[in-house]
């Protein structure tokens, strides 16, 4: 009884020191988030408001998208619509080619990961440089992000030092974090100067004003958009909110939930092109309209990618991002992976003990654990249920549906106590991997009641 997630996780846990550090680091972020949440008396009201705003916007998406487009165009922004990742990648390439761009700097965007933009651009001869420090380190190391907000937190500074020494000429032997950050800063500065276009994601799109809001801690989105004249924004259609009043709610929640800060260091509003420049916004669907029509799972569209559900998830913290087969890990990733491709990403559905902690940290109240429970119910009809689990469930259901057989079986259960230890603790008994076998008592409660011994 295993899945790819459980197998990768078992492998990951073999290095206890690494695993413990990972758990402590991310629980530390959860604790910082808790302190923020407990500092605001109106915290639960904010969550309620955020949930309500997202519910409203997502269920009135067509109107808000039109409003957003009209206002953005009024602001001098070019607006494009992409139905799927192929269309999106083609639009980006087209814009870049028509401006004779050879090199692009990018601030962090999960949407571009989702659409495999970098691979697509590189295949077409573009040089793509990630400018978020974590993302840049991963790009240089040819690794994928293991978390959506802190993508390289699992990489140690010694590894980063080695990577820089190999790829950035003149890097000295020191692995001091301040020094390494300084090296990265100088290296990135050169990239910003040379780039012909800057790409950003969008944390929020504001319909009433036709602008996008990008939140970063490093100012790299601002560098990416202040030096090159061409700015391309990639935005999932679910990132829309109605107006500034709504923005005020999300602005207070995002960084508190994501990293335990009151606010990100930079909250930049982009409302139009720079003088002499050009700004494009690409609105990407890529399956989102389908999700909207899914009664069981549409609430995933409320997600604002803060990562709080990962930080609190006891399974994520102990298995790390790479144990998941979808690029977004943790509770929201389990759900988004299934919505992307059920046959490809069903292995992650096992990665949940149904503790419901994610439901309680989520700032927009996505019913994450309930949705995972629902996916589990679908696995059998998709042909992906575990045969052993199915056998055990059927056997249990038979017993429980026949009280006479059930009580009879219980009377025999204590025979387990007398079985040879080698049999009970063998690999055939999956419980024995982490547990010593329990002892069955002489009488069940049922039998004691029958015998009037209570």
């Amino acid at each position: 009884m295993s899945t790819r997630h459980s197998t990768y996780a078992e492998h990951y846990l073999q290095d206890n020191e690494v695993a413990e550090r990972h758990d402590k680091t991310f629980f530390g972020v959860r604790e910082k988030r808790d302190r923020m949440a407990h500092d605001l008396p109106e915290w639960e009201d904010l969550r309620k408001a955020a949930d309500g705003i997202k519910r409203h916007t997502v269920t009135h998406l067509a109107e808000y998208l039109e409003q957003f487009e009209a206002n953005a165009v009024k602001n001098g922004i070019h607006v494009h619509w992409a139905a799927d990742s192929d269309e999106y990648n083609a639009i980006v390439l087209d814009i870049l080619r028509s401006h004779a761009v050879k090199k692009v700097v990018k601030s962090k965007s999960m949407l571009t990961e989702e659409c495999h933009l970098n691979e697509s651009l590189e295949k077409n001869g573009m040089e793509v440089i990630e400018t978020d420090l974590g993302e840049r380190i991963l790009q240089m190391m040819h690794l994928a992000p293991s978390h959506i907000v802190m993508p390289a937190l699992h990489v140690h500074r010694e590894q980063i030092g080695d990577c820089f020494r190999e790829q950035i000429p003149g890097t000295s032997e020191s692995d001091d974090p301040t020094y390494l950050t300084h090296v990265a800063r100088l290296h990135l500065r050169k990239q910003f100067m040379e780039a012909g276009a800057g790409m950003t994601g969008a944390n929020f799109g504001i319909a009433a004003t036709g602008e996008v809001v990008v939140c970063t801690n490093e100012g790299n989105a601002d560098m990416s958009t202040s030096i090159p004249k061409l700015h391309i924004v990639s935005m999932g259609i679910e990132k829309l909110i109605p107006d500034y009043r709504s923005m005020a709610v999300f602005q207070r929640l995002l960084a508190r939930c994501g990293t335990g800060q009151e606010t990100t260091v930079y909250t930049s509003h982009f409302r139009g092109p720079r003088p002499g420049g050009e700004m494009h916004i690409i609105l990407v669907d890529n399956g989102r309209s389908q999700i909207l029509g899914d009664a069981d799972h549409w609430q995933t569209l409320k997600c604002m990618r803060c990562g709080a559900c990962m930080n609190t998830c006891p399974v994520y913290r102990r298995s790390s991002g790479y144990s998941y087969t979808y690029f977004i890990p943790g509770p929201i990733g389990v759900n988004l992976g299934m919505l992307r491709d059920k046959d490809k990403y069903y292995d992650n559905v096992s990665a949940c003990s149904l503790c419901c902690s994610c439901d309680n940290v989520c700032p927009v109240k996505v019913d994450l654990s309930t949705q995972i429970y629902r996916w589990r119910q679908e696995l059998d009809s998709l042909g992906h249920s575990d045969p052993m689990k199915k056998f055990m469930s059927k056997r249990m259901a038979f017993l429980f549906n026949h009280p006479g057989v059930y009580t009879g079986t219980l009377r025999l259960a204590k025979a387990v106590n007398w079985m040879p230890k080698c049999l009970v603790n063998s690999k055939l008994n999956p419980w024995a991997y982490g547990h010593k076998m329990m002892k069955f008592p002489k009488n069940s409660f049922h039998r004691l009641w029958k015998k009037k011994k209570i």
Partner: protein, 248 residues
């Protein structure tokens, strides 16, 4: 007041003493208690494993067996939560007109003592230090204590009740409501993660210096006890009800 006692399958099979003590405690508080003999399981093991369709007949049976009692009391928070949260949807899926009576009257024994009987004194003595295991469904589905994630006034019904016991010292571990990693078939399907969660939780309980780990769910206790014995970690386990009924 007539109470139907729900003794979930694994309590019936492995921890009959928890059922016996629940019965004795309720009787000592003057409650009329009945035990419908045809009961078996709430269906949670199959539901969590992805086979809820196999447990729907159990939900229907449960509703028939228990619908006429004033309350249904179970000494297992997770099972009571499953009945309350999942049964209505399961039965409605089959018969949209059916009103699930037993589900809304089902409570965990801690809730029953704390919220309904409002017990404010008990004759029990338990001269030991106990570390409280706030099990997930008790905290986040039944509201036995305030979830650490939420900014709501702090409370803990388990601790309120344990405080009535003479001689007891009650503590909570660090990360007081982090999951122990049981999760039904999760514990065998994700065995490595489950074992790590279990051993982490145990070490946090043990570092409080407690003699016992206590909680409202024998399932979490069963998991942690199995892990403790496998790893050779020393601590004892006792269900909350066994403490509250000590001496009866």
């Amino acid at each position: 007041m007539k109470v139907g006692l729900f003794i979930p399958c694994y309590v019936d099979a492995l921890y009959p003493e928890v059922g016996v003590q629940t019965y004795k405690l309720l009787r000592s508080l003057g409650v009329e208690v009945d035990y419908p003999e045809k009961q078996t399981c709430c269906g949670q093991p199959m539901g969590n494993a992805g086979f809820e369709r196999l447990s729907v007949p159990l939900a229907e049976k449960y509703d028939q067996l228990f619908r006429d009692y004033d309350y249904v009391v179970a000494p297992s928070a997770s099972c009571a939560a499953y009945v309350r949260v999942f049964h209505p949807g399961q039965i409605r899926g089959k018969d949209p007109q059916h009103e699930c009576m037993a589900s809304k009257k089902t409570v965990d024994v801690v809730e029953f003592l704390h919220d309904i009987l409002k017990v404010d004194s008990l004759p029990a003595k338990f001269p030991y230090k106990v570390s409280v295991h706030n099990s997930c469904h008790g905290v986040r589905e039944l509201g036995l204590s305030s979830p650490s994630e939420r900014n709501i006034p702090k409370f803990n019904k388990i601790i309120d009740l344990l405080s009535l016991v003479e001689g007891i010292t009650v503590v909570e571990p660090e990360r007081p409501d982090e999951c122990c990693g049981f999760g039904g078939m999760f514990s065998v399907e994700e065995k490595a993660v489950s074992l790590k969660m279990g051993s982490d939780k145990l070490r946090r309980h043990i570092s409080t210096g407690a003699d016992y780990i206590t909680g409202p769910d024998s399932s979490c206790l069963m998991h942690m006890e199995g892990v403790a014995k496998k790893l050779g970690l020393e601590i004892k386990f006792v269900h909350v009800v066994e403490i509250l009924s000590a001496g009866l």
